[in-house]
């Protein structure tokens, strides 16, 4: 099969330009509605549950879920499906444990919830560091992925690709704030869900619309083993630890948590998780069909020869089934996917810098509305430029571990403090701060000592820490730290405020 992948095709550029133009028009429209902090950070709390469900899906379904899982299924078969399930199971837990209390207690960031009844300065600094670390690790993975993928798809140089992504998303976030970011997520989610559905239908048309026929073809082309568990899970403890990171990491991702402030109340927050889980679940159910289809129709050898991680499987399949114009469309969808995810991350990073650090730590909570919006925009530029610089600095590096690291820090640093601040009366400032610090440091250090970095990146013989993802150790340590430190450092004021916090958590009294 001859492919025009890697060359800038007319259709690819056309679809991409249409997307950028439409999203910039939306940004222009949004910019005129973005004057206050509530508008900048929370889209004036005017997003409906259905819209937020799409936007959450848009924020979460990165290029890794689309191109990565399709590629993993294409090259390793059933293992890719096991991997996909792990990415969904955090969503119901997010709904059961934190979505509604978070919406009722907070204003713009998850640190608002943690700091509700604790001493502002130390806890805001700790929570902001947890947020910023998570956002940075996630952003590095996205930017490096963007540079590589766009190079493969359009033939642009790595640096050009990183700069284009950085500048375009910076325009969305800087001028249009959360309103523009939300609509970019919604459009991207629709494009991604629609595009992959179309690709799935075209694929299944080749197999009489019967998954059974497709699987038989996979088994006869390769082996029955493609449909059985392979090498992905060899050590159950490793699998449990990764599962914990994926499940509870979602509950500590600042850019996801921030989205709950864009809806009017807890009920809409609740319903939006239902929509998001439906959209993301549907996506993970159909993407393996695309992957299996690519392995039969395109062939593993060709897929691996274009990119050894298999990331181009879905694109090669699009071209084979519907020609270069469809390839252009799917490539543009992948580009839009990256843009939208990075925009969400940047806004979350900026809110931690400006709302948590500047307004609540430096200014002690006293800053005028005008000043707050100005600082939010300056923080956005800082985070955006940092994303571009980090993308270029990490060029050519193996950053596959960065997403795992982001989830490990999220579930070890951010999640325990968040959950305990909602549910445990005796949590103290010292306890929460120590738990965030221990979680963040332990997650980072253990990942460096784990096989994913110590062996795969630094090329050492054996890993110092045996598990690929440290969540089971670092998250547990973070909870234990919170309990122990809180019990030895009683804080009367925090306990007294807990009653007041409870009526706000469960009855929404005084919620913003």
């Amino acid at each position: 099969m001859k492919t025009s992948l890697g060359e800038p095709t007319t259709s690819g550029i056309a679809f991409f330009l249409v997307f950028v133009c439409v999203s910039l028009l939306i940004t222009y429209w949004a910019a005129r509605r973005t004057r206050t902090t509530t508008e900048y950070y929370a889209a004036a709390r005017s997003i409906t549950a259905f819209q937020n469900g799409l936007a959450l899906a848009g924020d979460y379904m990165s290029a890794a879920s689309f191109l990565g899982i399709a590629g993993l299924v294409a090259l390793s078969g059933f293992d890719g499906m096991i991997y996909a399930t792990g990415w969904l199971v955090g969503w119901p837990v997010l709904l059961f444990l934190v979505a509604e209390p978070l919406r009722n207690l907070g204003k713009f960031t998850f640190a608002d919830v943690v700091a509700y009844r604790l001493r502002q300065r130390p806890i805001r600094i700790a929570a902001a560091i947890g947020s910023i670390l998570t956002v940075l690790f996630y952003t590095i993975a996205q930017m490096v992925g963007a540079g590589n993928l766009i190079k493969l798809m359009f033939g642009l140089s790595y640096e050009t690709a990183v700069i284009i992504v950085g500048v375009v998303m910076l325009i969305y976030v800087l001028f249009g704030g959360m309103i523009a970011t939300t609509w970019v997520q919604i459009i991207k989610a629709c494009l991604l869900l629609g595009g992959v559905t179309l690709l799935m239908i075209l694929t299944m048309a080749q197999f009489d619309f019967s998954p059974g026929v497709l699987y038989s073809k996979v088994a006869s082309t390769y082996s029955q083993a493609s449909l059985e568990p392979g090498k992905l899970i060899t050590d159950p403890l490793d699998a449990i630890s990764l599962g914990l990171a994926l499940m509870f990491g979602l509950l500590g991702l600042p850019h996801i948590l921030m989205r709950f402030y864009t809806v009017p109340d807890a009920k809409e927050a609740r319903k939006s998780v239902g929509w998001a889980t439906g959209f993301i679940g549907y996506f993970y159910c159909i993407i393996p069909l695309v992957g299996f289809g690519a392995s039969v129709l395109v062939g593993r050898e060709l897929i691996a020869s274009v990119d050894k991680g298999g990331n181009m499987a879905a694109l090669l399949l699009s071209e084979l089934l519907a020609g270069t114009p469809f390839l252009g469309f799917v490539a543009a969808v992948a580009f839009a996917t990256i843009l939208a995810v990075v925009a969400g991350l940047t806004l979350a990073g900026a809110s931690a810098l400006s709302h948590d650090i500047y307004v609540n730590v430096v200014k002690g909570g006293h800053a005028t509305e005008w000043e707050q919006v100005k600082v939010a925009r300056i923080a956005t530029v800082i985070v955006g430029l940092l994303a571009i610089i980090l993308g270029i600095v990490f060029k050519g590096q193996n950053v596959a571990f960065m997403v795992g690291l982001a989830f490990a820090v999220a579930c070890s640093a951010n999640f325990p403090a968040l959950l305990l601040s909602i549910t445990w009366k005796k949590l103290t400032t010292a306890g929460a701060t120590a738990s965030i610090v221990v979680g963040a440091v332990l997650a980072t250090v253990l990942i460096i000592l784990s096989p994913t970095v110590w062996v795969d990146v630094f090329k050492n013989q054996a890993a110092v820490f045996p598990l690929k993802n440290p969540a089971i150790v670092s998250m547990t340590a973070s909870f234990v730290t919170a309990f122990v430190v809180s019990l030895v450092s009683r804080e009367k004021e925090a306990e007294q405020k807990f009653g007041d916090q409870r009526t706000r958590t469960y009855l929404a009294l005084g919620a913003e």
Partner: protein, 101 residues
């Protein structure tokens, strides 16, 4: 506001509401755990079960993986229906009690 709220948070109804909320949330979280880790442990400990053919080539693992996703979604629906009907009504009743004061 601050003074009139106090009795509500100490009222029997409020305490029961909070307990019920966490019992429901905890039970559903446990069900997600059982579903997902049941599947993962099956991959780790009993490959043969997942590799068993249920069609010409289709293995039992494929529908089970889809089932994990479907069950997760259904559990979110269970929670939403419970919260929209039961929980919200009790919150409204408690808030009305507050307003009367």
């Amino acid at each position: 506001m601050g003074q009139s709220k106090k009795p509500v948070e100490e009222s029997h109804e409020f305490k029961e509401l909070v307990t019920t909320r966490w019992v429901v949330a905890g039970t559903l979280t446990l069900l997600v755990f059982i579903t997902y880790y049941g599947f993962i442990l099956m991959v780790g400990l009993s490959r043969e079960t997942l590799a068993r053919k249920i069609g010409e080539a289709t293995t039992l693992g494929i529908p089970l993986a889809v089932l994990v996703i479907v069950i997760s979604f259904l559990l979110t629906l269970v929670y939403i229906v419970w919260a929209n009907t039961g929980y919200d009504k009790r919150v409204a009743a408690l808030t009305r009690m507050l307003d009367k004061r």
